[in-house]
Amino acid sequence: MAAKVLITEDEPNIVESLTFILKRVGYEVTAVTDGEAALLSLRASQPDVMILDLMVPKLNGFEVLKRVKGDQALAGLPVLVLSAKGQAHDRRLVEEIGADAFVTKPFSNRDIVEQIDRLCGRLPGAAAQDRPAA
């Protein structure tokens, strides 16, 4: 079964590129454009990994991450944070909250795929043949 990725990002052209690339390597992709929609989606159907932009509207990425990592049911969900603000203190903050990976914009598609592959490989019980090809 294909691993599921939830993308929380409000820039449509970034969503389009990421969706294309991740689907191409075998992931099932869902995308939302704001923080509140992300939490709703997570509660409705938990993905295997989430890509989370920090600067999304309604509820920003910091807050979404805090609620995910503070929720017993969601705390184990690997989260890759995307940020245009690459400053050290933002990175430290998201790592303190519990982000599993941090990528700054502009990013390389290859880096995203490698990170997602790595994070999905960390899921307990995930067999090597279940991981999508890069």
């Binding site: 820039e11 052209n13 970034i14 389009e16 590129s17 990421l18 294309f20 690339i21 191409r24 600067m55 245009a84 603000k85 700054t104 914009k105 502009p106 990013f107 390389s108 598609n109 290859r110």
Partner: protein, 532 residues
């Protein structure tokens, strides 16, 4: 003690060096000059090395023997140059170099042009430092810049991601290729827009790189004239004569004068138009329309003053221009405009508080400012400013200095006394009454202060709140301080009940912490730049 004497030597003008210079030009030996003026050569030597004060009759005798005008030896410009050099020497940049006030006096006395060059260079350095700091702050905190940078990174991310797909996947279907090419096109266009907006932002926000602020230039100009302009006093008297004003013209009389003599219509407005250049102004004059709008919520004394300022602008343009013409101290157009407004305010003060009546009332009340406010229907600050101008030869009042500070300690106006300079940069001594006044708003705070050079001054300060136009308006307050030499304190009503003799206790203050040599001051805020 030695250091205090040195400080005093520095703060005195470099008179001794000038005397030596002129003596050499006159071809006289020390012995010859000393004999002619009736002092010993040893004493003259001390004077020429700035180790002794000189003034009054002895200085006049020396000036006469050297056939030089006395202003050559003891002029306000020279004193200011020494003070400015001492200010320069207090900069942390020169820490450890022991730039003493005596050396400043020597440089100013012997090489005044080089001294001016040093002062000018330092001002330029400070202005550039402030500009860089301001720019740095803007770069890190400006919301437009923050949003723009975020936008750039986001659009570049979309561009890069789409480009990578196009570049790395050979077997891309035509529809997908077209889609991602469209993304590249769209994101490139948005990136171009943001780039242009950023370029425009930096063009508009270019920081001034002048070496001296217009406010500094105007301060220097006013001090050069000792804040007394006889031509403008006469001009104000002419307006009074032409208008038939009684001693204290009312607002309605001023409005009638403007209507009858200048065809100006005056109306009250709740607020100035949104397009007004200065939203905090209390009036606006539409010259083509000959219409003046006065803000109705301004205090009555302020409205009268605005009317007086307009009268000055319309009736005394030529006289004001003549004062400004050719002044080497007003180098920038901004400084000239600022000086023009300052002189219009001067004429307004002379119009509303006429010299003879005002000085008579000041002497009669022993400079009771509250009484003068009621007598002339003027504000506290307007009376303070008029007190600074009582310099008419043969009819001078007590000589005052003045400063105005906001609660953060930022000095917004300054007019120093000849031997008690007000530092141009940074805060003044925290023990000055101007700051204590904020603790008791509305109450006059009196202080007999002694500086490290043993000079004593009398401070009179009051913190006042500006009238609020509405309940929701933010409260603003300033502290105003007049200062005079302690010798004159007994002429003031504020000296009553205080011990003013030279032996009386006085607050031990300094000019500013960086220049102050008092080691035991509990209020010290930073280390002195001058080593002990």
């Amino acid at each position: 003690m030695q250091q205090e004497r040195s400080k005093a030597g520095g703060q005195r003008a470099a008179i001794g060096f000038k005397i030596r210079q002129q003596r050499h030009l006159a071809g006289l030996t020390q012995r010859a000059l000393a004999e002619r003026v009736g002092i010993s050569p040893a004493y003259l030597n001390l004077i020429e090395n700035n180790k002794r004060n000189i003034g009054g009759r002895l200085l006049r005798r020396i000036a006469d023997e050297l056939r030089s005008p006395i202003e050559l030896f003891d002029d306000a410009t020279g004193r200011r140059l020494v003070h400015d050099l001492i200010d320069v020497g207090s900069d942390a940049l020169f820490e450890g170099l022991a730039l003493t006030p005596e050396a400043a006096a020597g440089l100013a006395g012997q090489y005044p042009q080089w001294a001016r060059a040093v002062v000018r260079l330092h001002r330029g350095y400070r202005d550039r430092n402030e500009a860089v700091t301001a720019l740095s702050d803007r770069l890190s905190q400006d919301p437009f810049l923050g949003e723009s940078i975020h936008g750039v990174l986001t659009h570049v991310a979309a561009l890069r991601s789409a480009s990578e797909i196009l570049e790395s996947i050979d077997e891309l279907e035509a529809a997908d290729r077209a889609r991602f090419l469209g993304i590249v096109d769209a994101e490139s266009a948005r990136l171009a827009e943001i780039s242009q907006a950023l370029a425009g932002f930096f063009d508009r926000e270019r920081t001034a790189t002048r070496s001296i602020t217009p406010a500094d230039e105007v301060d220097d100009f006013l001090q050069e004239h000792d804040n007394y302009f006889p031509r403008l006093e006469r001009a104000a008297a002419e307006i009074r004569g032409a208008a038939g004003f009684a001693a204290v013209p009312s607002a309605s009389r001023l409005i009638r004068y403007l209507q009858d003599h200048h065809g100006v219509r005056v109306t009250l407005a709740d607020a100035l138009d949104e397009g007004a250049a200065d939203p905090h102004a209390r009036s606006f004059y539409d010259a083509p329309g000959r219409h003046m709008a006065l803000v109705a919520t301004a205090a009555p004394a302020t409205r009268r003053f605005e009317l007086g300022r307009l009268a000055a602008r319309l009736a005394c343009g030529e006289q004001i221009a003549a004062e400004l013409a050719g002044s080497p101290l007003l180098r920038s157009p901004a400084a000239q405009r600022r000086a023009e407004r300052a002189l219009q305010a001067y004429v307004a003060g002379a119009l509303l508080l006429p010299y003879e009546e005002f000085i008579a009332a000041a002497r009669a009340t022993r400079y009771d400012i509250d009484h003068l406010c009621l007598r002339f229907d003027a504000s506290f600050e307007q009376v303070c400013h008029r007190l600074l101008t009582l310099k008419k030869p043969g009819d001078e009042g007590v000589r005052f200095g003045f400063m105005r500070s906001d609660p953060a300690g930022y000095v917004t106006k300054r007019f120093p006394l000849p031997y008690m300079p007000l530092p141009r940069y940074g805060n003044v001594c925290p023990l000055w009454a101007v700051y204590r006044a904020f603790q008791t708003p509305g109450v006059i705070v009196r202080e007999l202060a002694e500086f490290p050079d043993r000079r004593r001054y009398f401070f009179i300060a009051r913190a006042i709140g500006k009238p609020l136009p509405s309940y929701a308006a933010a409260r603003q307050s300033v502290s105003l301080m007049l200062v005079c030499e302690s010798l004159h304190a007994d002429q003031l009503v504020y000296g009553d009940g205080l011990q003013l003799s030279t032996a009386a206790p006085a607050a031990a203050v300094g000019p500013t912490c960086r220049l102050c040599v008092r080691r035991d001051c509990a209020s010290r805020q930073e280390n002195p730049i001058i080593a002990a």
